[in-house]
């Protein structure tokens, strides 16, 4: 059977680092990039006798995420120990949730070429991150840094509802947008604060029995997710086609070679010996707490996109870009309050503002001018006080300095000339100097008109009101 006769089945496990100040069970900072073991204490070092105390914001973030993904938030959830030995796991167990996670039975909508598709979220649970081992340290050693040990994570597990690599990437992007919108995660795949493992299996088309699945790890970009899943699908099909059997195993994606390889041999088969964490009582969440978090929930990316289309009459393309990040969407809305032509405003955002931000490598939160100032500039363009082209220069200056449009226009002499008399004088002068061209125009060579406009604008250093220049030229040329 060719690949097309097989149906891939994909489920994703996402580990999202939570944007808390302190770790999940101790007061150490979660800051990234410190000197090794700078952010450690007896608790996250796994010293004898120390005990965990839960960070309340982790619970808040978990509930927030659960509600955003339309999960049931469990009134009681239970902490468990997952036991295994590894140098970056200081206690020899990870504190996580197993039998009773905080959230279950959610969903997330994604876009596919066939339209909207609902992907079920099986569960969301809280857990602590492990530290980091550096293997290529030399001297036959590996080095262990426990700064990350105890950083709070949410593990978000989808049902195996995804059917190809593109859907998987769509799901991840949609999920990341939600988490970033909620302010619980920074969405950063390269630094590993948003990590993904994929469970992939294949079955003959039309079958309802899933095949043996493999777990893919180390997928730290959307591109690798797509590549690794596609590679895995064809690998499994090859195995089956050649009469083999797919083994349940964990495979590591090798970014450089573009292949995956088996990570753990069978004799190491894991037996995590989960049991309830005796050091932490079950977590009880009241209805009042859940409701309070629900009330404070922000509008989510998908809803905002739809509202931008319906409320502002924007094309879906514009709305998608404007709502990709919450601060940008918020800034747009603040401007839209003061400047009614949303499409024109969107053009300035997409064409100018995003370009300026990209050039500076900054985000909308660092913009130095106010929504009112932007509205003022666009009003000036509309009224012909400044030309659209000059307006772009004004915006660039506002972006750099935060000064107001009128100040910049006045200082740089960018005000557009709309005085008919002044323009007429220039037009007359140009026409007088170009009698030959007038002949050509009158003989029917209409493109010469553009030449006259250019000459007039140049003489006026670009500040002539283009509409008036056009109008006067036409009049003088006898059109």
């Amino acid at each position: 059977m060719p690949v097309s006769d097989f149906q891939p089945v994909i489920g994703l496990e996402v580990h999202a680092q939570l944007l808390t100040q302190s770790k999940i069970f101790c007061g150490c900072s979660t800051a990234f990039g410190a000197e090794p073991n700078r952010n450690t204490c007896p608790v996250c070092l796994g010293m004898p006798g120390v005990l965990p105390v839960l960070n309340e914001r982790v619970v808040d973030f978990a509930i927030r995420t659960g509600l955003a993904l339309e999960c049931r938030v469990n009134a009681k959830s239970v902490w468990s120990r997952k036991n295994y030995f590894y140098p970056d796991l200081p206690k020899g167990y990870q504190i996580t949730q197993y039998d009773l996670p905080i959230c279950e039975h959610g969903k997330l909508l994604i876009d596919t070429p066939q339209g909207e598709k609902l992907i079920r979220v099986r569960r969301i649970h809280m857990e602590e991150d492990a530290g980091k081992s550096v293997h290529d340290a030399g001297g036959g050693q590996s080095l262990v840094d426990l700064n990350r040990a105890g950083v709070p994570l949410l593990e978000i597990v989808s049902e195996p509802d995804l059917r190809d690599a593109d859907e998987a990437v769509e799901y991840l992007k949609a999920l990341r947008d939600v988490l970033v919108y909620l302010g619980v995660n920074d969405g950063n795949l390269d630094e590993g604060s948003f990590r993904c493992d994929a469970n992939v299996s294949v079955m003959p088309k039309g079958s309802s029995t899933y095949g043996q699945r493999c777990e893919l790890k180390n997928l730290n970009s959307f591109r690798f997710v797509k590549q690794a899943i596609e590679y895995e699908i064809s690998r499994q099909v090859d195995v089956i086609e050649s009469g083999g059997k797919v083994d349940q195993e964990t495979r590591l994606w090798d970014v450089n070679k573009g292949v995956s390889r088996s990570m753990r041999s069978k004799e190491d088969a894991h037996d995590y010996r989960y049991f309830p964490e005796p050091d932490l009582p079950p977590l009880h969440v009241t209805t009042e707490v859940i409701e309070a978090v629900g009330h404070a929930l922000p509008e989510l990316p998908r809803a905002k996109l739809q509202r931008f289309v319906s409320q502002y009459g924007l094309p879906a393309y514009d709305a998608r870009i404007l709502t990709a990040e919450r601060p940008l969407a918020d800034f747009f809305e603040a401007c839209a309050l003061r400047y009614p032509d949303a499409k024109k405003l969107s053009n300035w955002f997409l064409g100018e503002l995003l370009r300026l931000l990209k050039e500076e490598g900054s985000t909308v939160s660092s913009v130095r001018f106010t929504p009112a100032q932007l509205a003022e500039l666009l009003g000036a363009v509309d009224q012909g006080t400044v030309s659209a082209n000059a307006g772009k220069d004004v915006l660039a200056e506002m972006f750099l300095t935060g000064r107001s449009a009128p100040d910049i226009i006045a200082e740089k002499g960018l005000a557009q000339v709309s005085d008919t008399g002044a323009i007429e004088a220039v037009v007359d002068d140009i026409l007088a100097k170009n009698a030959g061209e007038i002949e050509k125009y009158r003989a029917g060579k209409k493109q010469v008109f553009g030449f006259f406009v250019g000459q007039v604008m140049r003489a006026m250093k670009g500040k002539g009101n283009p509409a008036l220049v056009n109008e006067l030229l036409k009049k003088k040329l006898g059109d």
Binding site: G27, C28, T40, N55, R57, G140, Q141, L143, H284
Partner: protein, 95 residues
């Protein structure tokens, strides 16, 4: 209930204990005796009994999300059997 030598070895692997052959032998005997004694629990009907994992029903204790000073690395690593810079050092891990 007897614990075979093979089971003893498997459990020792899970527990990361490099038992000597004598220890394996002795543990097989001793643990079998203990497991015999605990099979008594199998006779109880606990079908509808909730498990107790915590001795008292204290409410969840939560702490505010504020950072507290960490240990200085020299203290974190003071007891380390081997270190390099401010990292713990272990024999090279081969995955």
């Amino acid at each position: 209930m007897a614990l075979t030598l093979e089971q003893v070895r498997h459990v020792a692997t899970l527990a990361r204990l490099a038992l000597t052959p004598e220890e394996e032998q002795r543990l097989s005997t001793q643990l079998s005796a203990v497991l015999d004694a605990v099979t008594q629990l199998q006779s109880l009907d606990v079908e509808n009994v909730e498990p107790t994992s915590h001795a008292t029903l204290t409410a969840s204790l939560l702490r505010e999300d504020v950072t507290r000073p960490s240990l200085p690395p020299e203290k974190s690593l003071a007891n380390a059997p081997a270190k390099s810079g401010t990292s713990f050092a272990v024999p090279k891990i081969i995955e």
